[in-house]
Each structure stands twice: as C-alpha cells, then as structure tokens.
C-alpha cells in the first residue's frame, strides 16, 4: 500500500476472523480500526470533517479548529491539522486517559479541560461556549456534522461489503453514533435484512453526575432508527471481553472493542440472528492508549474494572 501522504493512508483496515471466540454456528469478524494512522476509527472522520470544511471555504491557512472530544477525534484532527498549518484546540473531559493528553500535546494541540462529572456532554457544552465567543475559530462538531456519518457511509460500510459480501449483522460502539449511522445505513441499503446493534458504555455514577435531565444530549448525527438493538456494557464486561480477545485471538484492542465484542456474543442467538450468520464487529482502536489506566495490568479484574468505571473509554 503506497500513500502520497498520511491522510491517504486512512481506511482500508483489516477485517479479521475470530475463529476461537465465534460461538458455534456463527462467524465473528473484527474490523481493526486501530490500523489507521493515528490508531483509531476517528482518522476517517477527521479527514472528512477537515476536507469538507476546506471545500466550503471555512478553513484557510492559519485557521484555528476547536472541537469537543473524548480523545480519539482530537488526536486524529491533530494529525491532519498539523501539516496543513491549522491550529487546534481540543475540549476534553478531565477523566480521559493520560496517553490521549500526551499525544495531543505532542502534536502541538491546546487542551481545555471540561469537568469529569459532565462526561462528554460537558466537553460539548464548553466547546460550544468557547466557539460562540470567538468568531475566528471553526468548530467541525462531529456530533452534528453530517461529514461524520458520511465518512462511514462512504468508506467503512463499503469496505465491509467488499471484504464480506455475506455480512448479516454489524455491531459497533456508540459515541457520537457516526459509525453506526453511516456504516449501518450503508449495509441496510445493500440488504435491509442486515441487523445493526449498538454497544453503549455504562460508566460509574461520576460520569452521569448530577446533571439536570433536561440538559441531556443525543448527538444530532445519530439516527436511532438504524439500530435493531442497543445494549449497555459496563467496564467489567468490556474489560473481560478485551482480555479474552488477547488470550484467544492475539488481538490487543481498546476497552470499547471489548464492549462491542460482548454485544456481538450476546446477539448470536437464533432468536435474533439465524445460525450461519456472519457478524462484523468494529474495533475503534487498539489498546495502547489505555495502558496507563491499568486496564491490562495484572491483578483482580473486579478491582481494575471498578477503577476504570469513571474513565471515559468511548
């Protein structure tokens, strides 16, 4: 694979079988988005966000980009913005992993922290306030920008159909909903019988905080109608599945991959998917950025999961 520059190396990720973890009668495949240039699925989205803004004339050399993110989108934007000379400010909740901060700093991005107790919703709130006060910044806003699901509609979805034309179900994590909305819609247009399931992270009380329910947030890009089911997975189950993936298949992935895998295993039952089904699970990133959280350290899994439950992993 030859690429003229790093942005052209985005996508075309491997779709690998999981023969040891597939339940009898089902075949699981994992799409390894950690193979993207900055190590996550968000390289696809960052490329679409920036290129569409350039086409619309919203970005010029020297512009500042401002974006709320739990980390992966920020790192992906940083890698695209740096060589183009765009400055970048990421608004990120405080309870994100150390590696995310270190990588953003390395790329020269500025970080503004939002309160841990407000989760990603707080990052959205703070970024929106900052952007309103400063007409010179451009906020791509992955939560509301159609370029986010479009990236998955035009790249992730078609890659899955090209590599596994007989796909019967898609399982992915739910953050902005971009992956599920874009890739799910593409797959269902190809074959309306394809089922789409969301794995939703379930955190500890801290993340849900004391916020007023009227101030909740459902990302405008997320089309809930594309889903056939939405299943929450706590940090204990996600971590367990992430470790099974290492032990049984040799795949080192991030915590949200474990969550998606756990959902895939749950829906592999004749009541929901006929036997013989091929199930594609999206792995948003590798495990590297979570090492400092202790997620992969030796020790009691319950204790490790309890420590992890207030760290955002999607």
């Amino acid at each position: 694979m030859l690429a003229g520059d790093i942005s052209q190396a985005v996508g075309d990720t491997p779709l690998v079988g999981l023969p040891s973890l597939s339940p009898p009668g089902y075949a699981l495949y994992l799409k390894l988005e950690g193979h993207n240039p900055t190590g996550s699925v968000k390289d696809r989205v960052a490329k679409y966000l920036i290129e569409s803004a350039e086409r619309d004339g919203r970005l010029t050399p020297g512009s500042r980009v401002l974006e709320p993110t739990s980390g992966n989108t920020g790192i992906a934007l940083a890698a695209i913005c740096a060589p183009k000379g765009y400055k970048l400010t990421c608004v990120m909740p405080r309870n994100t992993s150390e590696e995310r901060r270190a990588l953003l700093a390395l790329y020269g991005a500025d970080i503004v922290f939002s309160p841990a107790s407000e989760g990603s919703n707080g990052a959205v709130r703070v970024a929106t306030e900052l952007a309103a006060d400063d007409p010179d910044v451009y906020m791509p806003f992955q939560y509301g920008n159609p370029a986010n699901p479009q990236a998955h509609y035009e790249t992730t979805g078609p890659e899955i159909l090209r590599d596994l034309p007989t796909v019967n179900a898609l399982v992915a994590g739910l953050g902005t909903g971009g992956t599920l909305t874009g890739a799910g819609r593409r797959l269902k247009e190809h074959d309306p019988a394809i089922k789409v399931f969301a794995a939703e992270p379930e955190y500890g009380d801290l993340v849900y905080g004391l916020r007023n329910l009227d101030e909740g947030f459902v990302p405008p890009v997320f089309d809930e109608r594309v889903l056939d089911g939405r299943i929450k997975i706590d940090s204990r189950k996600a971590l367990g599945a992430t470790r099974d993936l290492v032990a049984a298949e040799g795949v080192f992935a991030g915590v949200s991959t474990g969550a998606a895998l756990a959902v895939a295993l749950r829906v592999c039952t004749p009541r929901r998917l006929p036997e013989g089904s091929n199930v594609v699970v999206v792995s948003p990133d590798g495990g590297w950025k979570y090492l400092s959280t202790g997620a992969y350290a030796a020790g009691d899994l319950e204790e490790i999961a309890a420590r992890l439950q207030d760290t955002l992993w999607a």
Partner: protein, 91 residues
C-alpha cells in the same frame, strides 16, 4: 414479583437517596406506576403526559434499551433488572 431498579444520582431525590429500589409489574408501565407510589416524582422524571419516555433518559431491561424492546409496554419478568441512565455521548 420483585424487579430491581438502578436509579441515577440525579433521580435519587425521589428515592430517599437510594441507588437501588425494587418494585413490581408485568410491564415497564406497571413497574413505573408501582414505583411512583413509594417514590413520588419518579414517574414524571421518566415519562411524559402521553406516557412515552423522555428523550434524554434511557431505560434498560437486562441491559437492553427499551426503545428497541416494547418501549413503556416492555414486558417484565420476576428477577429482571432495570436501569435508568441519563443519555451521555462519546467521541
């Protein structure tokens, strides 16, 4: 019939500070009505006047979002676990 319900911090003002309450009902609607008798204000926090779930609240039965089951009419069984969580995004 005992069904355990996880209540988020923001709604514990209706449950005397308890993070878990139990109730009964053959459907989610019956459960919510039953809970309301001992936890005043909880029903209004979950469902609107038309009986549908509020947009920024998610209710799960055995970890599955009820919007993809039967909504407020989702059938319940003894031993099911119900969770209420505010909607949060990622990314």
């Amino acid at each position: 019939m005992a069904i355990e319900v996880r209540v988020p911090t923001v709604l514990r003002k209706h449950t005397g500070g308890e993070r878990k309450v139990t109730g009964s009902g053959a459907t989610l609607r019956e459960l919510v009505d039953d809970l309301e008798t001992r936890n005043a204000g909880l029903r209004g926090a979950l469902v609107g006047d038309d009986g549908s779930l509020h947009r920024f609240i998610n209710v799960y039965v055995n970890d599955e979002d009820v919007r993809y089951l039967g909504g407020i009419n989702t059938p319940l069984d003894d031993g099911d676990s119900v969770s209420i969580l505010p909607a949060v995004a990622g990314g």
